[in-house]
Symmetry: C2
Subunit: 223 residues, 2 copies
Amino acid sequence: MAEDKKNVDESAEPQVPQAVVSRLSLYLRELQHLVRDGFETTSSTQLGRLLGFTDAQVRKDLAYFGQFGYPGIGYRCAELIAAIKKILGTNQSWSLAIVGMGNLGRALIGYRGFQQQGFEIVAGFDTDPAKIGNKIEGLQVYHLDEVTQVVREKNIRLAIVAVPSAVAQRVADALVSAGVEGILNFAPVTLALPKHIHTVGVDLAIELEQLSFNVVSKLAKGP
Amino acid sequence: MAEDKKNVDESAEPQVPQAVVSRLSLYLRELQHLVRDGFETTSSTQLGRLLGFTDAQVRKDLAYFGQFGYPGIGYRCAELIAAIKKILGTNQSWSLAIVGMGNLGRALIGYRGFQQQGFEIVAGFDTDPAKIGNKIEGLQVYHLDEVTQVVREKNIRLAIVAVPSAVAQRVADALVSAGVEGILNFAPVTLALPKHIHTVGVDLAIELEQLSFNVVSKLAKGP
């Protein structure tokens, strides 16, 4: 993930580094796994070990948001899950739009991980007349010119940009004008947007680097 | 990203936590940005500040792999970039396969970030007769039954699984039998694979959680 730190950091006061917020998601997933595995409490040491962080890093990260541990107990998993979801804003559900009904947009409509975490895709946008007014993968598709009206009617606050780089900025500008507050950008360009708009860019190559590392490090050690 | 830590950790000796390897990618991107911005050297403090880590965390992460800093200088950017690329295995290029020529597979063929970091997609696989033998998005598509031969001929070592959950395990088994060493899994299931095979699962909801956090935290503070 390449976060667009410039946009994000300058709008948060006091500043919480974006990487800390990213780690909150990792803590949340591990806590959910721990609960699934029957754990009721955990510790900064256990969470750190599961994720490869120092226990000091875990405590420092969580300390940005409050005091969550209990002396002699550690963290209560269910309580910390609820707290993190509230911090991340996923204790509520969010209505999303996707712009770009190409291969990536269609793929993302069907991505189940979004709905599991409280993100519901409620509208698609494109500029191809053949796609407008139809349903694609079960999602109603509108012309980008209708974005302001649809965003207002459906209370859409976040949008996914899945268009070619050449038009990504124009699309993002339209989304911002329509009132969208955050953009997940799959186009490999940096968007120039007002400071109060949050953007996150997706860098899937990081995941592949994890694989190549593991294959290479295995080879270095012999069979 | 939800890494399948079970597969990964048990095969690495001495164990480097997967999260540390993930941070290597982040350090690499920041170093590349620093070089682009004219910096020749940097420090654990600067790298940490850019990413929201403590300087101790940066030093501890890098110490897994060697001694990279110079007293009174810090890190030489170009040298550390080369070292990290070597550690990650991206100082060489990798040949990849994609299985599943649906929306996601087609989208990933066109994903530019892969090639930029040294990952080249050289073959696609599917089981739909209408797709076999054709080129999709410029990529030659083979039947999954041909996977062993194609993997050998094209020296494919990593694969991306972009098929429905119901068939993901069967596809992964076929890839492993064919000799693939690492799998990037977009199907929302945990794959049961031999210990020596590396898998990374992709969790795009984490990126959306970053957005919702920023929108919520902005609102909490008022306009």
